[in-house]
């Protein structure tokens, strides 16, 4: 079993280093806090520059930058350059490299295989330090592990850089004080859009709880960075940024006040650019129920149902879209006084198709959000059934796929907090249609199997590279948690089983309590790179809720662990 074997070997060596040459090899200690559970029993994270970050969405994100980070993250406290593994450890590296490659044969060909050196040194640092830190903390050499001072922030740091620096300083102070010295360097490498990568790295490395990751990320996002405003480089972005001082963004009250001023509109109101609104949405709206109007309207803007500006157009747009929906619905659906839903139509085949769709939809509508009273009401169930049927008939290539009910339910719930019933249904329909434009591919992929070509994947999933979202998740897993990744592949767990963790399909709508889903969706809808963040949340959920494997457990239990992960992850 390579992880244990290696960890103990590495710990042993690390111990010697700790006793003998503290100063010379701070890098060997890597980044593990004394407070971290020593019994986590998980293989070290073998993160390396790799395919994940070179994917389409991050094509502009340089490999060198990440290489530099990985080096810097394990770097000496003074932040002076990339860490070099101390001499005498290359045999372990080589072994690790060999083992990790033999554990996951399917990863060959990627950048990981191309740069085994990087994999080895990074993973080793991490695995190594498990034992080392504990030894350091307990040994008489503890004075040599004292906290380095936090260096001054360079003059060129922006307010956002400083915010990130503060957050990181707080983080490392609590978890890994010896890294404090490198904080400025980390800020420089991760400023801007890359902060999300930083938090995923930290989540994985320090096994953070998902809410902490979300909070950390939300607190350190760069308003002016392309991460939040990729399309908004011009005057709009600039004015958005200048309108939102970081202090306002940092406090929930400040954000709430600003958003309410925006929602009020009129002479006393505040005009906000879409970029600014995204930044606010991403940081979370007031708790559900406090003001349904705000979330409902802001989500409409985030989804493109309403424009951010000018506000004056909203009533006419809403009226027009609600009228269209009412027309389509009248052609397809009849809802009785007692909220019985029936299909309408003239031609026999169409009616038969509708009826079959309606039956499928209603089976699921009756068991959607079963613990929430709102969804038990006949009126709600009729509205949900109707909007799903209208969508299914208007989008014959998608129709209805289980899981869509969960997505629509969240939108209907939010819309209902703001509008009268029939408007809520129409608004939810439009929000759902707009959201489905982004996620329909994931649904279709889910029912077509993972091949993405409509062919069911009977062959071992390990045998071929999975395209699309699932493949991306697997590639990410191989980077962050090669043990789990290799296990899933080697054991032949159907890749489908993992795909929910990509989150792209139901956006966690089924896996969390409703309030948690709504809060998470603030982030997802506010994020212009919506599904990049989403897949990282999914990955973080997967990694942070993974249970350490125990020796006595049957290997196949891992299936169960993996499949039950979603129920354990708590994001609210």
């Amino acid at each position: 079993r390579y992880p244990r074997h290696l960890a103990s070997q590495a710990a042993c060596r690390g111990h010697q280093q700790c006793m003998g040459s503290h100063r010379s090899s701070p890098a060997a200690r890597g980044g593990v806090s004394p407070g971290r559970s020593p019994s986590r029993g998980r293989a070290g994270m073998a993160a390396a520059s790799g395919s994940l970050w070179n994917d389409e969405a991050f094509g502009d994100f340089g490999k060198e930058e990440l290489d530099a980070f990985f080096a810097a993250d394990g770097a000496a406290p003074n932040g002076a350059g990339p860490a070099r593994p101390p001499p005498g450890r290359s045999d372990i590296e080589a072994e690790y490299s060999r083992l990790s490659r033999s554990q996951s044969p399917a990863r060959g060909g990627g950048p990981v295989a191309a740069a085994p050196e990087g994999v080895a040194s990074f993973a080793l640092d991490d695995g190594d330090s498990d034992g080392v830190d504990a030894t350091c903390a307990d040994s008489e050499h503890v004075q040599d592990c004292r906290v380095p001072e936090l260096p001054e922030a360079p003059g060129g740091f922006s307010a956002e850089d400083r915010r990130l620096r503060e957050a990181l300083a707080g983080f490392y102070l609590a978890r890994c004080p010896e890294k404090l010295g490198g904080v400025n360097a980390i800020v420089e490498q991760y400023r801007g859009r890359a902060v999300s990568h930083l938090w995923v790295q930290l989540a994985s490395k320090y096994r953070l709880r998902v809410p902490d990751v979300v909070e950390g990320l939300a607190g350190t996002l760069y308003l002016g960075a392309p991460f939040e405003q990729p399309e908004d480089g011009g005057a709009g972005g600039a004015s958005g940024s200048s309108a939102l001082p970081p202090e306002t963004l940092a406090s929930p009250e400040g954000r709430e006040e600003l958003l309410h001023a925006w929602l009020r509109g009129g002479p006393g109101g505040v005009a906000l650019s879409e970029g600014a609104l995204r930044a606010l949405c991403l940081r979370g709206l007031p708790s559900p129920g406090a003001d349904g109007q705000l979330r409902a309207q802001l989500w409409k803007v985030m989804l493109g149902y309403l424009p951010a500006q000018p506000r004056s157009e909203w009533p006419s747009i809403e009226a027009e879209r609600r009228a269209s929906y009412a027309r389509w619905k009248a052609d397809l659906v009849a809802v009785s006084e007692s909220f019985r839903v029936d299909v309408r139509g003239v031609q026999g085949q169409q009616v038969a198709d509708s009826l079959s769709l309606l039956q499928q939809i209603q089976k699921d509508v009756h068991r959607t959000q079963p613990l929430v009273e709102f969804f038990q009401r006949p009126a709600t169930q009729a509205a949900l059934s109707s909007l799903l049927l209208v969508y299914a008939r208007r989008n014959p290539e998608v129709q209805y796929i289980q899981g869509m009910n969960e997505v629509a339910a969240v939108l209907l719930h939010v819309a209902s907090e703001a509008s009268a019933d029939e408007h809520a249904e129409a608004d939810a329909f439009w929000c759902f249609s707009l959201l489905m434009q982004d996620i329909r591919g994931a649904f279709i992929q889910a029912v077509d199997g993972c091949s993405g070509h409509g062919a069911p994947s009977h062959a071992s999933p390990a045998a071929k590279a999975e395209p699309g979202a699932v493949g991306k998740l697997l590639r990410a897993l191989r980077l962050y948690d090669p043990e789990l990744g290799a296990h899933l592949e080697g054991a032949g767990v159907p890749v489908w089983a993992c795909s929910r963790y990509d989150g792209a399909q139901c956006l966690f709508a089924k896996d969390l309590p409703l309030a948690g889903v709504v809060r998470l969706w603030d982030c997802l809808l506010g994020d212009p790179l919506r599904f990049e963040l989403l897949s990282q949340v999914g990955l973080a959920a997967l990694l942070t809720s993974r249970e350490p494997p125990t020796g006595g457990k049957e290997e196949r239990e891992v299936y169960g662990v993996v499949l039950s992960l979603s129920h354990k992850s708590s994001l609210h």
């Binding site: 079993r1 992880p3 499928q360 089976k363 699921d364 068991r367 959607t368 959000q369 079963p370 613990l371 129709q399 209805y400 796929i401 289980q402 899981g403 009910n405 969960e406 889910a446 029912v447 077509d448 199997g449 409509g454 062919a455 069911p456 994947s457 009977h458 043990e483 296990h487 080697g490 054991a491 159907p494 489908w496 089983a497 795909s499 929910r500 399909q505 139901c506 089924k510 494997p549 020796g551 006595g552 457990k553 049957e554 290997e555 196949r556 239990e557 891992v558 299936y559 169960g560 499949l563 039950s564």
Partner: protein, 215 residues
């Protein structure tokens, strides 16, 4: 041997799949079997879910590894990939829903073509607590099962009636096939394999390999 250690010991591992129309109660059936209680607020299954339990049949400890599939037709191409290697298949219908019963033949055909020829199949008429809404009689379903040479039981995932019997019945049939030499328990493809307790010297290799990959 320590009792807690015994808990994890078993002689055979059988893979089961649960298939059938959406809303027939597949997930509730599995939940009732594993947890011994009704799953309130159950939602539809997306793709597959998984559960496992060790049962004691014919003097053997048998671990059931059960894959619960999504019933919606649209997911069929995905769920089909789970049939492979199943030693047992439960085809569930809802006794209050005639359609779900009528679709039995399709599910049976899927199971026969996609799983092994010697897969033990049982058809399960669920929701038998809802007698006043019954749309499929016991007699009719049991005759159909006989004609197709498969097992049949009625259950209630709500009350638990008959649920354990279903799994035990199928496990017993598979066990008989093994003891009659009709299934080789050491082939993974058959959907069964020997557990951590060795039952014969020839099964050593299998037991070893199952141990070494327990990560």
């Amino acid at each position: 041997m320590a009792s807690e250690k015994e808990k994890d010991q078993y002689d055979y591992l059988f893979k089961f799949i649960i298939i059938g129309d959406a809303g027939a109660g597949k997930s509730c059936l599995l939940h009732q079997f594993i947890e011994n209680r009704y799953k309130k607020g159950s939602s539809h299954t997306i793709g597959v879910e998984f559960g496992s339990k060790i049962i004691h049949v014919g003097g053997r400890n048998i671990k059931l590894q059960i894959w619960d599939t999504a019933g919606q037709e649209r997911y069929r191409s995905v769920t089909r990939s789970y049939y492979r290697g199943a030693a047992g298949a439960l085809i569930v219908y809802d006794i209050t829903n005639r359609d779900s019963y009528n679709h039995l033949v399709n599910w049976l055909q899927d199971a026969r073509t996609l799983a092994r020829a010697d897969t033990s199949i049982i058809t399960v008429g669920n929701k038998c607590d809802m007698k006043d809404k019954r749309a499929v009689t016991f007699l009719e379903a049991s005759r159909c099962a006989q004609e197709n040479d498969i097992l049949f039981l009625e259950t209630s995932a709500l009350t638990g009636e008959g649920v354990e019997d279903v799994f035990i019945k199928v496990a017993r049939v598979i066990l008989n096939k093994i003891e009659d030499g009709l299934i080789d328990p050491n082939t993974m493809v058959s959907g069964t394999h020997t557990g951590s307790q060795r039952i014969g010297s020839d099964s050593g290799g299998e037991a070893m390999s199952s141990k070494t990959c327990s990560c």
